[in-house]
């Protein structure tokens, strides 16, 4: 399971890196290329986002990536096929990130069963609070997959403890309010918040939202266990081409 994998890796390095791509953006071939270059550059885990037409929690960069992927013909079937190829070819854990309607329309239990069959290890569903998630949580547990939930700067201790009950693998902590891809202040306040998060869970902490540079990565070291880069990698790809993504990741880790 993911928690053990993360703990093992943390024996060798202080901070892991999780990256994110939108499947089918700009194309499925390019998705495969991006995964390959990210894995080669040394990422430890990856989120594969299945595109949705209404990505409510995402900012402009990932919103556009979702829309373009769908415009270019992305479907759930193709995304599952691509994910299966990815997990077969690369030796790091992959999670799905998507919105609940993708699971709901397919059938939640069957979707989770498919995740298991194609080698996906966990999932992040940002519009599915545990209160609405009984079928999903049960299926995830049955298949020994990790449902990852989200701590936010607005979450009370009580809420964090409640989320912790329903989470395995690691806890996704968002660095600030707002949507993905906007700037974050990496300072004392964030450090204090991560200490609070630590007190609410024994799971590894992954920190995301606004992580975009080596300086951010270095700031997070010692405070969280995994740094998450999402929008910034897409931005690099859009500005400098897919070939630039591997070197960008490499420059952050090293």
């Amino acid at each position: 399971m993911l928690e053990q994998y993360i703990q093992d890796r943390l024996q060798h390095k202080e901070l892991l890196l999780m990256t994110h791509i939108v499947l089918g953006y700009p194309s499925y071939d390019k998705s495969m290329y991006l995964v390959e270059s990210m894995v080669e550059a040394g990422v430890d885990l990856m989120e594969l986002q299945i595109p949705f037409s209404e990505p409510m929690a995402d900012g402009p960069v990932i919103l556009k990536a979702n829309a373009e992927a769908l415009k270019a013909g992305a479907t759930l079937e193709k995304s599952l096929e691509m994910a299966e190829k990815i997990t077969a070819n690369f030796d790091i854990p992959f999670l799905f990130m998507t919105y609940y309607n993708i699971l709901f329309k397919h059938g939640v239990s069957d979707f989770v069963s498919k995740m298991h069959d194609i080698g996906i290890k966990g999932a992040i569903i940002p519009d599915l609070p545990p209160e609405e998630a009984s079928e999903y949580l049960q299926a995830m547990q049955q298949h020994k997959l990790d449902p990852v939930h989200i701590f936010t700067p607005n979450s009370s201790l009580e809420r964090k403890q409640e989320l912790n009950k329903h989470t395995s693998g690691f806890m996704y902590t968002v660095a600030r309010k707002g949507v993905t891809g906007k700037d974050t202040q990496f300072g004392d306040e964030l450090g204090d918040y991560l200490v609070e998060c630590r007190q609410a869970t024994d799971l590894p902490l992954a920190l995301g939202f606004g992580v975009k540079s080596k300086a951010d990565f270095d700031f997070i070291r010692g405070k969280a266990d995994v740094a998450i880069i999402g929008s910034e990698a897409i931005r690099v790809m859009e500005d400098q081409g897919v070939e630039a993504v591997g070197p960008f990741i490499h420059s952050i880790i090293n």
Binding site: S53, M56, T75, N101, K105, S155
Partner: protein
């Protein structure tokens, strides 16, 4: 939250984690207000002094004679300040915003009616205000954008997705997840995550409460059928809620039939068979979506009904059979509006004209002793460009050309706009 807001399988609160405390606060404020009779009294006082409540019911004698069947009565929500039922919900949420101590309101808008109502409320209560509006709607509803801006609101055109109402809702949520501390999202219809559907329906129930009393006191009996258009469903919920316990009253919701059946041609989630149950925009209901769960484009002559989802409360009434759902096509709607203008001198909004169109189809087949009540949810002044296009009025075209020439001439002398 104490409750999840389910109506059988519909509703719920599928919200991003960051908003959980915000919804806790909203639910608490809503439940407290609902159990406080002084709040409802304050609300009714506000609506009777700032808006035009109680709105009257008008007997449409000429339409009744023309159609030769049931007697037609019209509930006049168009007489609200800002010209639509939207004011009811907005002023109620404004009072709640004050109670929660917030200083800024945001809203989505389709036709612009809810945006104008929210901008008006913000001006009255001294709130900052940002309105999200699909770029397509900004283009087709300029008069409303003009008034929102005059009232001090910032109008943000949303270019994402289909650039209509659902995309404006997504964008308003993106603002809210950032600014929830001082900002209330005044969602405009009986949709979205709990508590919005039942909270909006509660504010709008003032329509049905009044209508039932008025029918009883003025006609001595309840109507046989009541008609309301259904976009998100708030005016329909408002009128219907007065008659839910009256088994003898048939409730008819009328959706946007657009260009007719077939995905992409309409916005009829319940009357046609194209919609399926899904979860988006924070709630579970019937959505016009593909088998993968991707939302599809919708079409309607009226921006206010052009929406992929529908109130979870109405979705439930659809399944239980408590409300009958029909759809009226764009052509039927424009014709119904013209007939109403000509026969009664009333100007129903294109949205409201859907309810009129369906009522006009049914009235001739009903007995002269039967009574129908139509909700005129808004007035059509804002639709003048769309209506003039739809009926292709040559004098209007000439007016616009002349006006455009004047603006161009002025721009040329000022060296401004090319």
């Amino acid at each position: 939250m104490k409750n999840r807001g389910y109506f059988n399988q519909f509703g719920g609160a599928f919200i991003p984690e960051i908003l959980v405390p915000t919804f806790d606060q909203l639910e608490a404020a809503y439940l407290e207000a609902k159990s406080d009779p002084a709040f409802w009294q304050e609300y009714v006082n506000l609506m009777s002094t700032y808006s035009c409540r109680a709105t009257p019911i008008t007997y449409a004698e000429n339409l009744t004679q023309h159609l030769g069947g049931a007697q037609i009565y019209i509930k006049r929500e168009d007489l609200n300040h800002t010209g639509a039922h939207k004011a009811n919900n907005v002023m109620g949420q404004g009072l709640l915003t004050k109670r929660m101590g917030k200083r800024r309101v945001i809203a989505e808008t389709g036709a612009g009616q809810h945006g104008v109502a929210t901008a008006t409320m913000a001006a009255k209560f001294g709130f900052d205000c940002t309105i999200y509006m699909g770029a397509v709607d900004v283009a087709r509803q300029r008069p409303n954008v003009f008034w929102m801006e005059q009232m001090g609101a910032t109008v943000v055109p949303v270019e994402d997705g289909s650039a209509t109402l659902k995309d404006a809702i997504n964008e308003a949520f993106r603002d809210w997840v950032t600014n929830m501390d001082d900002t209330h999202y005044a969602l405009g219809t009986a949709c979205g995550p709990y508590p919005f559907p039942e909270m909006v329906a509660w504010f709008q129930s003032i329509i049905g409460i009044e209508a039932r009393e008025q029918m009883l006191s003025q006609q001595g009996r309840l109507p046989d059928r009541v008609y309301a258009c259904v976009g998100g469903g708030s005016n329909a919920m408002g009128l219907f809620s007065g008659f839910l316990d009256d088994k003898e009253v048939e409730l008819v919701g009328v959706e946007a039939g657009g260009r007719g059946k077939g995905m992409g041609e309409h916005a009829a989630r319940l009357a046609y068979d194209d919609a399926t149950v899904g979860v988006a925009q924070g709630y579970k209901t019937y959505f016009l979506q593909n088998p993968n769960g991707q939302m599809m484009d919708t079409h309607s002559v009226s921006a206010g009904l052009d929406y992929v989802g529908v109130s979870p409360i109405l979705a439930n009434y659809h399944d239980t059979g408590q409300v009958r759902f029909e759809a009226a096509t764009d052509d039927e709607v424009v014709a119904a509006m013209q007939l109403t203008v000509q026969k009664e001198g009333l100007i129903p909004a294109l949205e409201s004209s859907h309810a009129f169109a369906q009522a006009f189809k049914e009235a001739p087949n009903m007995g002269k002793d039967e009574i129908i009540l139509i909700n005129q949810s808004g007035r059509a002044d804002k639709d003048i460009f769309t209506v003039a296009d739809a009926i292709d009025d040559p004098k209007w075209r000439e007016f616009i050309i002349t006006k455009a020439d004047q603006y161009r001439a002025r721009a040329a002398t000022e060296g401004g706009v090319k």
